[in-house]
């Protein structure tokens, strides 16, 4: 071998040494798959550069041809290495499988064999010549068919990587845009320069432009990895987050092919992870694929899905979220699967328990009502032996009081809502019943009930019911003597949206005497009204104009919205 000096020898060797050090640095300092991969790619680049330098330094044709062949040990694997690195960086590691690598390595290996046996077939180079370029000579090859096959193959691989990186740059968030941009430059520059070089555009004076372009590529790779720490933090953090999620996460591309999934998803769906990446949703998850196909929209939505898993029925809460890029194009879907079997089961148990308690509560109301009926019956039986009209009336009053309470339990018993009753409807029944009770004493009295649908809880409804019972009974007994005609009006109103109530019982009868102090009276009925109003925190106002009007104002925690009854 004879050697010659060229101005490029030392710079190229220095670059090659730097690249080797960078590869070692990356390999030693960071041990993730992406970094190991990048380090291998850099070593291949370094080998290529060293061989280029030595070819350039060769003084005769045979030396140059030898080192030209050595270059291929590095260069044939660079395009494939680029593609694989891009796949790793973009999160498509699952696509990298031994069989695929072997398939993609076929042409590089074939090219390498052909390069070293070219003298026998001339399919890589048909001829070689030395051309003088200033003070030193360079090797000029006449390229054969295998070279072009390899060139097209290498260009396609690098172009694929460049396209994927370009898509990422235009779609991903800022961090990945920077990282992908760096790799894009790293792939695009050698690709463009290689095409131009082969087209004999004679970049850098017709010298070996592609290895020089690799310098840019190397800088871009190192910067992309070191600056963005893409090799460790982001993928590891993302993987950690994905894997630590108890919810299953599946990522589908635009064509509904599975791109990624975490372990929880694998467990939820009872499918193997490796075997399903790249498959259609109909193959991965046939039970729900059809349903999902109708549900995949441009916005988040949820579905509940029941599936059999090892003979056990599982309830899954499935959330589908579209992945939309900056152009508002849906580029895939993320499906989050949450196993809510336990939650559903727990809810069902709670509901069953609640239903049971409701039945029991209804039974209690029923029993209370029956007991009140028995008390009313006892009072009635006792009164049958009483001749004194005053005492008899007192017994009748007591029975009415019991009835007013029983009616509330009756309503609670038959209502779906066991906590509160529609007081307006209740008052209509109660007042109507009282008018019937006193029909023997008053025949010409009209009853008018003006009531909203006012929901009151039992602690308020019973005192209010007793108040209405007392005041309506009083009116029926005293306001219309001697067959006087008149009207009794009961009114219950709730101030809209607030917990303030106004309960009014008025009549247009003879009215109470001015000397009657309703707050301090021997009448048990009025004593009860005052006490019960106090019990519910209300105030009692009496108006004696044109008859008698009792108004009770009270406040209660806000109930459901009310609306006028028909």
């Amino acid at each position: 071998m004879t050697w010659q000096y060229t101005p490029l020898t030392v710079p190229l060797l220095m670059v090659a040494v730097i690249v080797i050090f960078l590869a070692i640095y990356l390999r030693v300092l960071q041990g993730t798959p992406i970094v190991r991969h990048a380090a291998l790619l850099l070593l291949a680049d370094a080998l290529w550069l060293i061989a280029v330098t030595l070819e350039l330094a060769g003084g005769d044709l045979s030396t140059k041809i030898f080192w030209n062949k050595v270059q291929y040990f590095g260069s044939v694997f660079v395009p494939l290495g680029w593609l694989l690195l891009t796949l790793r960086v973009l999160g498509y590691s699952e696509w990298i499988k031994p069989m695929r690598i072997m398939g993609l390595s076929f042409i590089p290996v074939l090219t390498l064999i052909a390069v070293w046996t070219n003298e026998r077939h001339g399919l890589v180079w048909t001829s070689h010549e030395l051309r003088q370029l200033g003070s030193f000579s360079v090797l000029i090859n006449e390229r054969g068919i295998i070279f072009w096959v390899y060139f097209v193959y290498a260009s396609i691989l690098v172009a694929c990587a460049v396209i994927m990186l370009f898509r990422t740059v235009t779609r991903e968030r800022e961090l990945y845009k920077g990282q992908a941009s760096a790799f894009l430059v790293g792939g695009l520059v050698p690709l463009a320069v290689g095409i131009l070089d082969v087209a004999r555009q004679d970049l850098v004076g017709g010298l070996y432009a592609v290895p020089l372009a690799m310098i840019v590529s190397v800088v871009a790779i190192v910067w992309g990895i070191v600056h963005f720490r893409s090799g460790d933090i982001v993928p590891i953090a993302r993987k950690l987050v994905m894997e630590s999620l108890s919810d299953g996460v599946l990522v589908f591309d635009q064509g509904l092919r599975l791109v990624d999934m975490n372990t929880a998803a694998k467990n939820s769906l009872q499918i193997g992870q490796q075997g399903h990446i790249g498959k259609l949703i109909t193959e991965v998850w046939p039970e729900v694929a059809e349903h999902l196909a109708h549900e995949l929209h441009f916005s988040d939505h949820f579905i509940n899905f029941v599936m059999q898993s090892s003979g056990v029925e599982r309830t899954l809460d499935v959330r589908c979220s579209p992945l939309v890029d900056w152009r508002h194009t849906v580029i895939g879907w993320v499906i989050v699967v949450r196993d809510i079997t336990e939650q559903t089961s727990s809810t069902n148990r709670l509901q069953a328990s609640l239903r049971e308690k409701e039945v029991l509560l209804k039974e209690i109301h029923h029993r209370v009502k029956n007991n009140l009926q028995i008390i009313a019956s006892l009072l009635n039986l006792q009164s049958s032996s009483i001749d004194d009209p005053l005492t008899l009336a007192q017994f009748q009053d007591s029975q009415n009081r019991v009835r007013s309470m029983a009616l509330i339990h009756e309503r609670l018993y038959r209502s779906d809502d066991l906590a509160q009753i529609d007081f307006g409807s209740y008052v209509r029944d109660l007042a109507g019943s009282l008018v019937q009770t006193y029909r023997g004493q008053v025949q010409n009295v009209m009853l008018k009930v003006e009531a909203d649908v006012t929901l009151l809880d039992i602690d308020t409804a019973i005192p209010c019911g007793l108040i209405v019972n007392e005041l309506v009974s009083n009116a029926l007994k005293h306001a219309f003597p001697n067959g006087l005609t008149g009207q009794i009006c009961v009114e219950i109103r709730q101030k809209q949206g607030e917990g303030e109530y106004r309960l009014v019982v008025r009549d247009n009868g003879v009215g109470m005497g001015d000397d009657v102090d309703y707050r301090n009276t021997p009448s048990l009925g009025l004593q009860l009204v005052n006490s019960l109003a106090k019990q519910i925190g209300g105030s009692v106002d009496l108006c004696r104009d044109g008859g008698t009007q009792f108004a009770i104002h009270f406040t209660r925690p806000r109930m459901n919205e009310v609306e006028p009854s028909k």
């Binding site: 029983a406 009756e410 019943s433």
Partner: protein
Amino acid sequence: MTDTITILVVEDEAIVALDLQSRLRRLGYLVPETAASGTEAIQLAEQLQPDLIFMDIGLQGTMDGIEAAEQICACSTVQVVFLTAYADANTRQRAEFIAPASFLSKPFADEEVLTAIKTALSKRNES
């Protein structure tokens, strides 16, 4: 007039039954017996041939008031007043199937009892 009207009270609560019997008697009706079970009600209905039956729905024994009323009405024109105004939808539907004269809510006042009797008797006269 009322003392020619015979009424059978069917109620499993003894005090309520006694009270109703007392009220009806005070109002002038004949109430010779009360029954606490469906079987007893059928026997007494056959024996007394009442004009009207006040029938509670929940009774002692396996037979409820609706079933007892069905059997009694199958061979008689007696009018039935059920002593439960409110029941679940299914029970209410079963009760209405035999076209009772009315439903009477417990506890009841004399006037309500009288109204129920008048309604039942006018219905009987119409039929």
